[in-house]
């Protein structure tokens, strides 16, 4: 108790210095809380955008289809799989898809393209392709034998709305599949790869053309909460309806996305570590001063019978008080700031308009979680503890007689 009182009062001997130190600690932890929350929030935004433009959060496919897509590797009874997914808690929506590579020709050009068969009703609940239409309209089940095509592909094929696209491919049974479709819409996702090589048609048309016999290549699902993907995946895999099928999550479906997030996270962490080191050095000075300038006092205290280790403890209590207060303020302010922007969002400036065109929200929403709230401050706490320990450990090496000669 006396030691606590002593440590507490010692902090306020140099009010300004102590407050500056606490502010440095507080500001660093505020920054970490906010930046980590922002980073995690932006990942969620990225994942969400990417997932809703292409892969979905989860896909059910035939075993081996993902590694080596082949026409004959199919989900035979998509209805059953979709029912199973729909009754799984946390799943927002699902849709069935077919896809294969074909040759697509306009009047005077030919290209290899990926053609997808989608069900406009369910598809639009899962993915945002319908919002990407730049010319014409999205697919409609009332208007069979039409396609929508990527904008870059349309340019290359020199084809426009209402014009005819000839498709030549191989059906599920290996026979030749060929037909002529009318261009109903042109879409632009902003992902060149997609815009250059994708054509979408009605699932029913695809079924007929390629003799799918009701089978599909993937059932695509989106979930309400990104964090629940793993759990939902496990639940779904237990379902009898999915026996013998593979369930893939977004990380498996787009490993590149996961990688770029990991890389971004690593570079973020490096930055945070640098920030923490800078803060540690700046407060090291305070802690060093607090020990050096009181050498004489420590000598007196040892002379009256305070054991060296007890002095170390008192010094550590002082620095932990300061760190604790700083962290507390930083976390409270950081949490408030984060929560504010979590509601209001942060506009991404010029990039926002661009992103909005492609159906991605132009605002970033930081997300406060236990991880983003505590990991930075805990790290700072640990680092400052050792920063304070270093000068404090000089005390036991002091001889009281020498300490008292110090001014």
């Amino acid at each position: 108790m006396g030691d606590l009182k002593l440590a507490w009062r010692n902090i306020w001997r140099h009010t300004r210095r102590s407050i500056l130190t606490m502010m440095a600690i507080g500001f660093a932890s505020l920054l970490l809380v906010f930046m980590l929350s922002f980073q995690f929030g932006s990942y969620e935004g990225m994942i969400d955008a990417s997932v809703r433009l292409s892969t979905g959060h989860l896909q059910v496919q035939a075993q081996g289809y993902h590694d080596k897509p082949e026409m004959r590797k199919v989900v035979k009874n998509p209805r059953k799989v979709m029912d199973a997914l729909s009754r799984t808690p946390g799943v927002e929506a699902c849709t069935a898809r077919c896809q294969t590579f074909v040759l697509a020709s306009s009047e005077d050009r030919t290209r290899g393209v990926m053609i997808m068969g989608v069900d406009p009703e369910t598809e639009s609940r899962v993915l945002k392709t319908s919002s990407l239409i730049r010319q014409g309209e999205y697919l409609s089940s009332d208007d069979p034998n039409t396609v929508i095509i990527g904008a870059l592909l349309a340019e290359r094929l020199k084809i426009g709305l209402g014009e005819e696209l000839t498709i030549l491919g191989q059906a599920r049974d290996g026979s030749i599949a060929a037909t002529v479709m009318t261009v109903r819409g042109i879409f632009k996702s902003g992902i060149d790869e997609v815009d250059r090589s994708t054509v979408q048609m009605l699932l029913t048309d695809f079924d007929q053309l390629f003799g799918m016999d009701g089978a599909v290549h993937a059932v695509v699902a989106v979930v309400h909460k990104l964090t629940e993907v793993g759990e939902i995946k496990n639940t779904v895999m237990q379902d009898d309806a999915l026996k013998g099928l593979a369930v893939l999550d977004w990380m498996e479906l787009s490993p590149g996305l996961k990688q770029s997030i990991q890389m971004d996270l690593v570079s973020g962490i490096i930055m945070y570590v640098i920030l923490i080191i800078v803060v540690a050095f700046s407060i090291m000075n305070t802690f060093l001063m607090a020990v050096f300038e009181r050498t004489r006092e420590f000598g007196v205290m040892m002379a009256i019978g305070v054991k060296p280790l007890r002095l170390v403890k008192i010094i550590l209590m002082e620095s932990m008080f300061m760190t604790g207060l700083g962290l507390l303020f930083g976390m409270i302010l950081g949490a408030l700031l984060t929560q504010y922007f979590a509601g209001a969002g942060i506009s991404m400036g010029g990039a926002a308009d661009l992103m909005a065109q492609y159906g991605i929200s132009g605002r970033m929403y930081p997300r406060l979680s236990l991880i983003t709230l505590f990991s930075g401050p805990i790290l700072i706490g640990v680092v400052t503890f050792f920063t304070a320990l270093l000068p404090a450990l000089r005390i036991p090496r002091l001889k009281p007689a020498n300490a008292m000669k110090a001014v």
């Binding site: 006396g2 009182k5 002593l6 306020w12 001997r13 009256i304 019978g305 001889k399 007689a401």
Partner: protein
């Protein structure tokens, strides 16, 4: 058993490349209850000797024991413990913990000794009263005069019921009236509690008040008179 026993104690300091013999085989025996002054010119080794007797520094030769306890092989922690229970210190100045009040400074020692709160408060106040500081309990050192600060230091040194108090020029920063009154207080405590006092001084008034005068020069005891 002697309160203090020093035999053939030497202390050598290095000042750059030069060896300074601060104490040269000094021997001193002090019986319980004595009131001893250490006199001698500046640099004669008074502070060094007091520090060694209090275990604040290690001798380079010789043996020291307090109340029969030999300092050899005692760790710095053990020595702190010994000081806490048996030795009180008063220095020339800046003796007190600046963030504590007079009462807290005295009380802290009792707390280190593990005494209960109510008891601590009672003893600390009684001791401050004893050294003439009634009503000044809540003053921080900065709000006390030099003489009052030294009294707090004496009260703090006495409160733990030590058998020995070491004081290094306790009156050096005080005017003669204040110094005399502090000395009187020390003498009273010496008589009342039977505590052994060893103090160093340059002041002839203080030397006269001592019951035994040990004179030092160049790191050696040159005279030792009991009055």
């Amino acid at each position: 058993m002697n309160a203090v026993s020093a035999s053939n104690v030497s202390k050598i300091y290095m000042q750059g490349d030069v060896k300074v013999t601060a104490l040269n085989k000094v021997s001193l025996e002090v019986a319980p209850g004595e009131f001893v002054a250490l006199a001698g010119p500046s640099g004669s080794g008074k502070t060094t000797l007091l520090n060694l007797i209090g275990g604040l520094d290690e001798p380079d030769g010789g043996k020291i024991s307090v109340n029969g306890k030999d300092f050899a092989n005692m760790s710095s922690g053990d020595l702190a413990e010994l000081r806490l229970s048996q030795i009180g210190f008063v220095f020339q100045s800046y003796n007190l913990i600046p963030v504590f009040t007079a009462e807290e400074n005295v009380e802290y020692i009792l707390q280190l000794q593990g005494e209960g709160k109510a008891e601590r408060k009672k003893k600390a106040r009684a001791m401050l009263d004893d050294v003439g500081l009634e009503g000044k309990y809540d003053r921080k050192p900065a709000q006390l005069s030099g003489g009052q600060q030294q009294r707090v230091a004496v009260a703090r040194a006495l409160v733990s019921n030590p058998t020995l108090i070491l004081a290094d020029e306790p009156t050096a920063n005080l005017d003669s009236v204040t110094g005399e009154s502090l000395l009187r207080t020390m003498r009273e405590m010496n008589q009342k509690h039977g505590v052994t006092f060893i103090f160093s001084t340059h002041d002839s008034m203080v030397m006269n008040a001592a019951k035994r005068l040990v004179s030092m020069k160049d790191g050696a005891i040159v005279d030792d008179k009991v009055k």
